[in-house]
């Protein structure tokens, strides 16, 4: 199922991107000259220890703040921090926390509608119908448009967040730990949905997560961050079967698993890594 990169062109590129945060006490180098490419239509997973700069990278992709050094390119053209509407439309985000990412005082419908209104998608009367269609697309009944986020479960909220990101018809979807707050059953449903959507709409995903099990099953390629640096980047198979970097190996070696086959795989990696 994984798509080979050769048939796809580069859609997004980071060239030596760094980010330094200045706090009153010290400087935090959150990202240290990271260069990576994202191919059109692929799912690139970003994994790494906590605090390694994954969210920072995502935020810069979305223009929330500018890189301290380096540059970002979209389709080969520089990606400014101040986004025009079409650029905004092109890259969308699904946030980590599904509760806070939805306005508690606005109905689900209103939140979805916003994207349509801002980007002037469809004609005004048609938009209500589109909202319903979007909800159905993420597997929710269209009546949910009338509901407030507080009346939804975590998984349902996350689906609404996905629907909203999809509403403007983006090319690239940045997903920052979209399932970490969900239990495995719900997580499986959301992942399935994401996978299907990607196929249907030929989307490009930048998928940030801690869960290597998830990575294994959804990503085409994996980028591993450690302390602000990109330490390894390879196709998913490669990462799991033949991890090159020591940190990557230790990650894979420590994944808690539930089946014997998985145990075998893990053991293999651990042995290569020299961990007992």
């Amino acid at each position: 199922m994984s798509l080979t990169t050769s048939t796809h062109d580069t859609v997004l590129e980071a060239k030596g991107v760094s980010k330094v945060f200045m706090t009153s006490t010290h400087e935090v180098k959150a990202l240290d000259s990271v260069s990576l490419t994202v191919m059109r239509g692929e799912c690139l997973a970003i994994v790494g220890e906590s605090g390694s700069g994954k969210t920072t990278f995502a935020n810069m992709l979305l223009g929330i703040y500018p890189p301290s050094a380096g540059e970002l390119l979209l389709d080969g053209a520089p990606l400014p921090t101040r986004r025009t509407l079409p650029l905004r439309r092109a890259i969308q985000l699904v946030q980590q926390n599904p509760l806070s990412s939805l306005n508690p005082r606005r109905t689900v419908g209103a939140s979805l509608r916003l994207a349509l209104d801002v980007h002037d998608i469809g004609d005004r009367p048609g938009r209500a119908g589109r909202v319903g269609a979007l909800l159905e697309e993420v597997g929710l009944p269209s009546e949910f448009a009338q509901r407030y986020p507080s009346a939804l479960s975590g998984g349902q909220r996350q689906r609404v967040a996905i629907a909203r990101a999809l509403a403007c018809g983006p090319e690239i979807l940045v997903l920052d730990e979209p399932t970490s707050a969900l239990d495995v059953l719900v997580q499986a449903r959301v992942l399935k949905l994401l996978d299907e959507l990607r196929r249907q709409r030929t989307l490009t995903y930048v998928f940030i997560t801690h869960d290597l099990g998830v990575v294994r099953n959804i990503a085409d390629r994996v980028a591993v961050f450690e302390r602000g640096k990109l330490v390894e980047q390879a196709e998913t198979e490669e990462i799991f079967e033949r991890p090159q970097n020591a940190y990557t190996r230790s990650l894979i070696g420590a994944i808690p698993v539930i089946t014997d086959e998985e145990l075998d795989l893990r053991r293999k990696v651990m042995e290569e890594n020299g961990v007992g």
Partner: protein, 343 residues
Amino acid sequence: MSPLVRLLLKRLSISVIVLIGVSMLIFTIARVIPGDPARIALGPNATTEQVEQLRDKLHLNEPIYVQYGYFVRDFARGDLGVSLYTNRPVMTDIAQFLPATLELVIVAGIFMIGLGIPLGIASARYRGKTADNIIRVISLLGVSAPSFVWAVILMLLFAFFLPLFPIAGQISDTLTVPPRITGFLLVDSLITGHFAAFFSALHHIILPAFALALSGIGQAARLTRSNMVETYDKPYIEMARSYGFPARRIANRYAFRPSLIPSLTIIGLDFAAMLGNAFLVEAVYGWPGLSRYGVQVILRKDLNAIVGTVLVISATFLIVNIIVDLLIAYINPRIRLAERSGS
């Protein structure tokens, strides 16, 4: 430079800007209040030439920005001008009346914090119980009337019908007033060891200070309660409970300090608002304070005195707020240790 010092400097510079804004605003306002200050000052029988002379002397015939220039020049020399109403330097008047008001407001502030916060803590600790309900109703009643209504009600109850407290003034008439050192009667009488005067002053200040403080007490209790209740729902309180710390300790140590942070800002504002409200109470209790002077000078369009009084009150307000901010910063490590700023 420690973050606290940095914060202090930042707040101070902002306050200076605000104070400049206040001075411009009040300067303009004082000059658009109808009524010719010169005419009012000279009395109804003054001739037009006399009025014109005084207007010239006060630069009233010049454009307002020029007048402001004169004001700034004099202010830089520590001169606020002469009050047309008392014929004394405004500084002298303020020095005379500010301490009485501050004394009243500070005692009221002590009531507010000393009673309001413990009541709020108790209320939160026993939330849902009878004690909580009683405290809630009391504090709600406290905030349900302005200080002057409380002043009148308290006076009626505790000075007229039940003569426990004197009804007016700062000190009993029969006592000699201690020499003026700080201007704060309570302090001066203590310094000079004049205990009769001290107790008399204390006796006199209780009722007005309490009237002034009542809504503040209610407000402080309510705020403390609601913030504490919110804090009680925080996981770290549950965690403290899971370690079996006694309820008292949890209330006073674990829950109180975090809940104080949001309360403090409002309590600070309230405290400062008392400065403005004091005049109503001062009027009822014949308290020789600044707020009353302020109202008098406004009615008489005593330009210099208006500007001076307002500046002093604003400055006090700002100082109180700076103190509160520093306190918050001190309690809240987040502000003390790192002010987050994006690059």
